[in-house]
């Protein structure tokens, strides 16, 4: 068993030793130093201590024959055959990793009447698509979905498996990882691969203040979940390639203790807290009518509109849409502040946002300290020009 041992002969000042641990895991009781259950095996004590008091004893790790596990598999997440964009992004990443190690890329798709959608995957350069098409798989239910996943892994033995961080993915991936007693790293933001097929997984920890680099060195398969919009989807090719393999599974394995009684469309979320994109109007917006251009930009970006305290006080926006200490805290992927100066109370409610763009005429505005991109300019000129760009960009696409 891997453990940390205290070399009592080398202890000079027990109190100093106790203080080495930020988790309070070193006890000094009745003249005796010991490690308690608060120990996180972070080995910080080994790093900090200079007298050789601590010793780390490595145990034998389990052995896995990595040559038996080959390929990178992507779980295809979909709603009634409509494949989620995150799946294509994962295919793109899987192909990149596979190219480095000379492994094939597989897709696993399960559901009912999904053959046509599965065929679409063949336009993205994957080597083989495995489909399980059963009435019992029409709706997501954990036991049959896990059983199918297990069947696929036993048959194909992929080295790495990438799953989208969707509602289904976050429920299914841990279940199947536990079945194989293997590791799963959630919400990876960076993935790379070693020549020995170890997956380098990097994810934010502790609310994003720290990045952790994680490996699953002695177990296969290695599971990682990744959220939407982290990686890039490959271009769809005109021609199709690869094999489509229909798989069968014993019907007894598709039994479930879950009955899906109803599926109801969800009333659309209109709150700002869950929005991925937010456009904020500040005092730079002069008249109620001018909110229209903010609304139009928001619509084009599929964004929610929010306001600063002073804008809310004008009554042009619902108070539920106020950002700041006296309003709501938001953490969208993109926030564009329009004519917002950036008072501390406002910034406190939005500075966790992934990407902050600020438009303001005053170059000295405090908002520019917090923005990733500060645009010195007049919202009355820039927003209409941006709207025009987006609209013509859309025409080019369609």
């Amino acid at each position: 068993m891997a453990k940390i041992i205290i070399n009592h002969d080398k202890v000079k000042d027990p109190q100093k030793i106790v203080e080495l641990c930020p988790f309070g895991a070193i006890d000094y009781i009745n003249g005796y130093l010991s490690i308690n259950s608060a120990c996180k095996m972070c080995r910080l004590c080994l790093k900090k201590d200079t007298d050789g008091v601590f010793k780390y004893v490595e145990s034998q790790r389990p052995q896995v024959d990595k040559s038996l596990w080959n390929g990178i598999a992507v779980y295809v997440d979909h709603l009634e055959g409509d494949i989620y964009p995150v799946t294509f992004e994962l295919i793109g990443k899987a192909e990149e990793l596979a190219a480095k190690t000379g492994q094939p890329v597989y897709c696993l798709m399960m559901g009912h009447n999904i053959a046509d959608s599965a065929a679409e995957l063949m336009h993205y350069g994957v080597d083989e698509v495995f489909i399980y098409d059963y009435k019992e798989l029409e709706h997501f239910r954990i036991e049959p979905y896990t059983a199918v996943f297990e069947d696929f892994i036993k048959q194909v033995k992929p080295s790495s498996i990438l799953v989208g961080g969707t509602t289904i993915g976050r429920s299914l991936a841990p279940r199947i990882a536990a079945r194989f007693r293997t590791g799963l790293t959630a919400d990876c933001t960076v993935l790379d691969i070693q020549p020995d097929t170890n997956l380098d997984q990097i994810r934010p920890a502790f609310g994003g203040n720290i990045m952790a680099h994680i490996n699953t060195p002695d177990h296969r398969p290695q599971f990682a979940t990744v959220r939407y919009k982290i990686f890039n989807a490959p271009e769809k090719k005109g021609t199709s390639s690869g094999n489509l393999r229909r798989c069968t599974i014993d019907a007894a394995k598709l039994k479930s203790n879950i009955k899906v009684l109803e599926i109801n469309a969800k009333e659309l979320e209109t709150g700002i807290e869950d929005a991925e994109v937010i456009i904020v109007a500040g005092r730079g917006v002069k008249k109620a009518e001018d909110m229209e251009m903010i609304m139009e930009l928001a619509k084009l970006l599929n964004a929610q509109v929010a306001g600063t305290r002073s804008l809310i006080e004008t009554g042009w926006l619902d108070p539920k849409r106020q950002i700041g200490l006296s309003g709501r805290t938001v953490k969208p992927q993109l926030i564009i502040t329009c004519g917002v100066s950036g008072a501390i109370q406002f910034v406190a409610g939005m500075n966790g946002s992934e990407h902050i763009v600020a438009i303001n005429t005053d170059k000295q505005a405090p908002i520019f300290q917090n923005a990733h991109v500060g645009i010195v300019g007049d919202i009355y000129e820039i927003i209409p020009a941006l709207i025009k760009n987006i609209k013509s960009g859309m025409e080019v696409k369609s």
Binding site: M1, A2, P22, G24, A25, N36, S37, C39, K40, M41, C42, L44, K47, K48, R141, I142, E143, T166, I168, R170, S171, P174, A178, G183, T185, A186, D187, F206, G207, G208, N209, I210, M211, A212, H213, N215, D218, N257, I258, K259, V260, L261, E262, N264, K266, L301, L334, H355, V357, F368, Q369, V373, G374, I375, G377, E381, I382, A385, G393, M394
Partner: protein, 264 residues
């Protein structure tokens, strides 16, 4: 009916910094609290208790200090509390944590219902609940946003999906993870604080489990290994753009499209 709620003590703040030189966490003092998501799980269990004869057990894995959150659970209305505490659990990843909890939960037989918060604020993985269900070989439903009905045989819940809400009926025993905002958690009650002051908190270690193989716990039982931790790429790139309107709008358009905000 027996309900077990899994709770966790987490750092009281997310303001954790990394020492750039050593790559280790800087944590001054150990200010901690109950994982906020777990309050919704506890509240769900206590609401059930108000309707049916139910025994609610709160269970946690952690150091002896984690007793504080069990006491807090008592003050909300939990009947029983268990801490799984053992130096041999140190360094547990998701798999080892879920396995340890499953051993603790099943020790006196699998309860009718297990409720977990959707995720924790420190690990943020949302994986422990489903993994516990797998180890106990019972069905689970994640992201429950409403408990509609409960009988001695079944629980009927609303599951939150990206575009839909599914009403599902699950045969007990089962595990659910509940979404934030499923209810409004009550505040700890002073009356219950007094009433539960002398109530013991059961402490279990590896020696109390049915599986006593040390290789299944702690660092040994953890397939994932943290190679290193490091600060995120510095976010001090405050770019300032100046120029003509056409130029600025064009640049912003290009950046938004590059960052995929114009996809749909």
């Amino acid at each position: 009916m027996k309900i077990t709620v899994c709770i966790k003590q987490v750092p009281g703040t997310s303001e954790v910094e990394v020492d750039e030189k050593t790559g280790v966490l800087k944590r001054d003092g150990i200010d901690s609290k109950m994982n906020p998501y777990d309050l919704f799980a506890l509240e769900s269990a206590i609401r059930i208790k108000q309707q049916f004869a139910t025994e609610v057990t709160a269970i946690t894995m952690g150091p002896p200090q984690a007793e504080e959150i069990i006491r807090e659970a008592y003050m909300m209305g939990a009947d029983d509390g268990v801490i799984l505490s053992d130096r041999r659990f140190a360094g547990s990843d998701v798999l080892a944590t879920a396995y340890t909890l499953s051993q603790g939960i099943a020790r006196d037989g699998i309860p009718d219902l297990i409720i977990c918060g959707k995720q924790t604020t420190d690990g943020d993985t949302a994986q422990v609940g489903p993994e516990i269900a797998e180890f106990l070989n019972i069905p689970h439903v994640a992201d429950v946003r409403k408990i509609i009905d409960l009988t001695s045989e079944h629980i009927k819940v609303e599951m939150d999906m990206p575009q839909t809400v599914e009403v599902v009926e699950v045969k007990l025993p089962a595990l659910i993870t509940v979404a934030k905002d499923i209810n409004e958690p009550r505040l700890p009650s002073f009356k219950l604080k007094l009433a539960s002051a002398g109530r013991p908190v059961k402490r279990l270690s590896l020696d109390d489990f049915s599986d006593q193989d040390e290789m299944n716990y702690g660092l040994n039982g953890s397939p994932t290994q943290v190679i290193k931790i490091f600060p995120p790429p510095a976010n001090d790139d405050h770019e300032i753009w100046e120029g003509s309107t056409t130029e600025l709008a064009g640049r912003l358009f290009e950046q938004l499209s590059e960052k995929k905000f114009l996809q749909r």
